[in-house]
């Protein structure tokens, strides 16, 4: 199975999880970790290491969903993900949004984290959409 770390600035990770509770219910495979103004970068790094240890337990891979490419959560996630000593294997995605978090529920049963990252990225791309009206006439053609 693949566990997910949701690594964000501010309280975004917690807020996204609160939202997902209303739609999908609990997401026990997701572990939030947040960089806040008062905690600073160093303590975030320690916290990330601790959360990673938890998320790695019993997992075939750990997928980190970061809010922003090249932000601190991203940099620290990459530091672990590209360390050849890291076990289990990790992958990192940037630009997490609400649908991506929900869709992570569908890749949690995979075993290859690289494949999980590719599938999730592909599926999440479709979540950025402009609202449009559908035609209102309804056919009787069932």
């Amino acid at each position: 199975m693949i566990n997910v770390i949701l690594a964000t600035h501010g309280s975004l990770a917690e807020a996204l999880l609160a939202g997902s509770k209303m739609v999908y219910g609990e997401l026990p495979h997701v572990f939030p970790v947040m960089l806040t103004e008062n905690k600073g970068i160093n303590s975030f790094g320690d916290e990330f290491t601790a959360v990673l240890k938890q998320a790695a337990k019993g997992a075939d891979g750990v997928l980190v969903l970061c809010d922003l490419q090249s932000g601190t959560p991203w940099n620290i996630a990459c530091h672990h993900a590209f360390d050849p000593q890291t076990q289990p294997p990790m992958a990192v995605l940037g630009g997490v949004n609400f649908p991506m978090l929900l869709l992570s529920d569908e890749i949690k049963d995979l075993t290859d984290v690289a494949q999980a990252a590719a599938v999730l990225l592909e599926e999440s791309r479709d979540s950025l959409v402009q609202a449009q009206l559908a035609e209102t006439t309804q056919s009787d053609d069932f």
Partner: protein, 164 residues
Amino acid sequence: MSISFVRIDDRVIHGQLITRWAKELPCDGIIAIDDAVAADPLLSSVMKGAVQDTKVWLFDTATAIEKLPKIIASEKHYFVIGKSPVTLKRIEEAGISLQNSNKKINVGPMSARATTTTIGPNQSVNPEEIAAFDYLSLRGHQIEFRLVPDASSYSWQDARQKLK
């Protein structure tokens, strides 16, 4: 039998949730039933626009009762979604069976409102809905509260215990 899934969901059509269920069960089209939504052409159109690859029909209860026999007789597989168990009760009272190949009525989100009791995560019922679930249960329907396919679930019988 061409109904492949019956669901109660107070958002009626929730794009991502429907897509999720459609990955598990055959879905050639979605029949959504709610009097208030059907009476609001703008909201109807917005909701239909949220599901892009699947055909969606939105009916009020009376129209649904008229169309469902033809839908059930079809070779295709349809999802039937009602906003409330009360809607589904009215349909069964009109003599239409909602028995389906998923063999149960699935219940998704039902928001907390003034007279509701909470029975699960984002699932709350008022007295009229309780009576409707009792009715559907007596009609032989298995009622399962489950937001998404992999989520934990409980039955109406389990929920009934909490309401005593």
